[in-house]
């Protein structure tokens, strides 16, 4: 057929040298430069920005972690889950219980282990993972859409438990979350008192950095997964479970494992949520939270890690911004809509519009804009590898027989 011939690979181990691995793409110097620049800005932000934005930033960081986790499950693997709020709750409650002090609050007698917050955080992530693991055998057996409805169950059961198990959760009043601290350094207002360039670094400033580190770690971990063996397996099983299994992917095993990973992400997001609000309450972890997370990944772009980040920032920050600047935004505040309502209308409409007109979400739009700035006649295709095409209408370039591969 061609000049090159095919010979048997020596055992299962192919010859080492040759061309570079396909994963190694040509990269321009521009991208790392922008990344470094962005990071410097992020690091310097607390010196210049008021507390509101830093607090919003930490809330967004928590949402980023959770949204990346949900996107791995829904966007990358095609498993619709509305249970995300439940796993956030497991993480948040575990943290509050493990690191909280026992004590009474009115009639309710609260338990607490009083362990260092970092232990609480780790336990929160692990227990959320365990909850995911317990549910995963069922999740792996259900067809995508059955999972969507079945996962509703976890949210309602979760809220019920939060309301009932007063000793641990504080009941319907909730309970406060202990400050985070690491090796004696408190992410609060003192212990130690801290000034950087004469700017006081209090809770908001400190949490900002914590959020930055955690979100970055969550981001890198997810990107690495997507670009390697497990990521490829997940994306293929989303597109066709039969094809994936025939190519050697243990479909049920992978569905179960991604459920585990996703719920661990949610657990961390839950801990960060508790830190951001300073307390937990049952109504925070209802169906609405699950739907907000779904909104994040749909708006951002299903299957794209960058998209999850953009979507999380947008969805988590918008209500806060609306609230703060209610006077400046038409229709919001005063006799108009409450900030939360306005944000919800916007999210709902945005979900519908994105699915109808821009299935790749914000990430897709960003890519297109970035594509404009590149040289024309460069590489023809600018899909990132993790952009799903499943949800899009068949494009004219699609081959005729492709519709029937499910």
């Amino acid at each position: 057929m061609s000049e090159s011939t095919l010979t048997e690979a020596p055992g299962a181990h192919p010859s080492g040298v040759g061309r570079p691995a396909p994963a190694g793409r040509r990269r321009s110097w521009l991208r790392p430069l922008l990344l470094v620049l962005g990071l410097v800005v992020m690091l310097a932000l607390p010196l210049y920005v008021e507390e509101f934005w830093l607090r919003t930033g930490f809330a967004a960081a928590g949402a980023i972690v959770g949204a990346i986790g949900l996107n791995l499950l829904v966007g990358t693997s095609g498993q619709l889950s509305l249970a995300h709020a439940f796993f956030l709750a497991v993480g948040a409650v575990s943290y509050v219980y493990v690191s909280g002090e026992p004590g009474g609050l009115g009639v309710a007698e609260l338990g607490g282990l009083g362990l260092p917050p970092i232990i609480g955080m780790i336990v929160g992530v692990l227990l959320a993972g365990l909850a995911g693991l317990l549910f995963s055998p069922l999740a792996a057996r259900l067809r995508g859409i059955y999972l969507g409805v079945a996962s509703l169950a976890l949210v309602f059961i979760g809220v019920h438990v939060l309301n009932s198990w007063t000793e641990v959760t504080g009941g319907f009043n909730g309970r406060s979350a202990p400050e985070f601290s690491l090796f004696g350094f408190t992410f609060g207002n003192r212990d130690p008192e801290l000034y950087v360039l004469e700017v006081p670094f209090r809770e908001a400033e400190r949490l900002w950095y914590l959020g930055l580190v955690l979100a970055l770690a969550a981001y890198l971990f997810a990107r690495n997964i997507l670009r390697s063996r497990p990521g490829r397996a997940l994306q293929t099983l989303r597109d066709s479970e039969v094809a994936a299994s025939v190519m050697g992917v243990n479909v049920q095993g992978y569905k179960a494992r991604i459920f585990l990973v996703s719920s661990m992400y949610a657990g961390l997001a839950g801990v960060m949520y508790a830190l951001s609000i300073g307390s937990i309450a049952p109504e925070s972890f209802g169906l609405e939270l699950s739907i907000l997370y779904l909104a994040m990944i749909v708006l951002g772009g299903l299957g794209s890690v960058n998209g999850a980040v953009l979507g999380a920032i947008f969805v988590s920050a918008l209500p806060l911004v609306f609230q703060r600047y209610a006077d400046l935004i038409p229709f919001v505040g005063g006799g108009g809509l409450a900030a939360g309502e306005a944000a919800r209308f916007l999210f709902g409409a945005a979900i519908v519009l994105v699915i109808l007109f821009e299935p790749a979400g914000l990430a897709g739009i960003a890519n297109r804009i970035a594509g404009r700035f590149r040289r024309p006649g460069g590489r023809v295709t600018e899909h990132p590898p993790d952009t799903p095409t499943r949800t899009s209408e068949p494009s004219p370039s699609d081959p005729p027989a492709q519709g029937s591969t499910t």
């Binding site: 829904v74 095609g78 619709l80 069922l138 057996r141 259900l142 067809r143 995508g144 859409i145 059955y146 969507g148 409805v149 079945a150 509703l152 169950a153 309602f156 059961i157 019920h160 438990v161 309301n163 009932s164 198990w165 066709s240 479970e241 039969v242 094809a243 025939v246 169906l287 739907i291 779904l294 909104a295 749909v298 809509l337 409450a338 309502e341 919800r344 209308f345 999210f347 709902g348 409409a349 945005a350 979900i351 519908v352 699915i355 109808l356 299935p359 499943r390 949800t391 209408e393 519709g403 029937s404 591969t405 499910t406």
Partner: protein, 296 residues
């Protein structure tokens, strides 16, 4: 024993309403491959419209107009959004209905606020006793109406052109299309029928012993989702069985809540979901749902 019979009767009544909602859920899935998460807010729309229109129009006319409004809303959603997405992935379709649900629900809750809107049923809060077994008149009428509607539905599904067309397109969309069946029309009609069923269920759900229409009516509607799933998403008979099963289980848990107190107050509201999980553990496609045959 008396308590048990009474709970059973109430459970059947509740289940009949869940069955109406679940039937709509199932026919939408059969006709347009959409799992409609809009169904909860559609039901709330029906309840809200009936409650608000009762004052100017009187109960009967308000009920008719309210049902019509709900059906119209379902029709518009299908035409404006779902119809454009024909052939899209099931998951995208489900998500788009969640988007619609957010909009509709936000608006309804904003309008209802913290009020409880009363629907002036002519049968009001009366109750009926057969021996020692008691049930509210509202619930009793609900059983009768649901039985008639479900009977009509199954007859239509079996014999009418629409029913045949719908079953054909659910079976094999492409072939049905070749035979001249307009899938768009089948799907639109399915949404309308589902809207009607949901609004009728709403009419009774907000009557005695429930105080009236409030945002929590939406939560009641959500409990019909497990009914559809555990019966099997593509099985109309399954929706009926699932609805009754969920209704009875919930009523029992509510009735015996003193004995179940160790599971927490308000446990009965969670029971439908627990029943669903239990069924799915053993039958991942529900009790009567068909397993998907993979074609490659």
């Amino acid at each position: 024993m008396t308590q048990f019979l009474s709970l059973l009767l109430n459970g059947i009544s509740l289940g009949a309403m869940y069955a109406l909602i679940a039937l709509g859920f199932v026919i939408i899935f059969k006709a347009s491959e959409v799992v409609s998460f809009t169904h909860g807010s559609l039901l709330l729309l029906g309840a809200y419209s009936i409650a608000r229109l009762s004052e100017p129009l009187g109960f009967l006319l308000a009920a008719v107009v309210g049902i019509a409004i709900t059906a119209l809303a379902a029709f518009v959603i299908e035409r404006v959004i779902i119809n454009r997405l024909r052939g899209a992935a099931v998951i995208s379709l489900a998500i788009v209905t969640i988007g619609v649900d957010i909009i509709l629900l936000t608006e309804l809750i904003r309008r209802i606020g913290s009020d409880i809107l009363n629907v002036p049923h002519p049968w009001a809060g009366g109750s009926v006793r057969v021996g020692d077994v008691g049930i509210s008149e509202n619930r009793l009428i609900a059983i009768a109406v649901a039985a008639v509607l479900i009977g009509l539905f199954f007859a239509a599904f079996k014999y009418s052109n629409w029913g045949i067309a719908m079953r054909a397109s659910a079976e094999d969309g492409e072939t049905a299309a070749l035979m001249g069946i307009k899938q768009g029309r089948v799907s639109a009609l399915a949404w309308v029928v589902a809207g009607v069923l949901a609004a009728v269920a709403a009419l009774f759900l907000v009557g005695s012993p429930t105080p009236g229409v409030s945002p929590s009516t939406y939560a009641v509607a959500l409990r019909a989702f497990p009914a559809a799933i555990l019966g099997g998403l593509d099985s109309t008979g399954g929706a009926l069985v699932g609805g009754l099963l969920i209704g009875i289980a919930e009523a029992m848990a509510a009735g015996y809540q003193d004995q179940l107190l160790f599971l927490g107050r308000g446990f009965s509201a969670v029971v439908p979901f627990i029943v669903m999980i239990a069924v799915l553990m053993f039958r991942p496609s529900g009790l009567f749902g068909t397993k998907e045959l993979t074609r490659v």
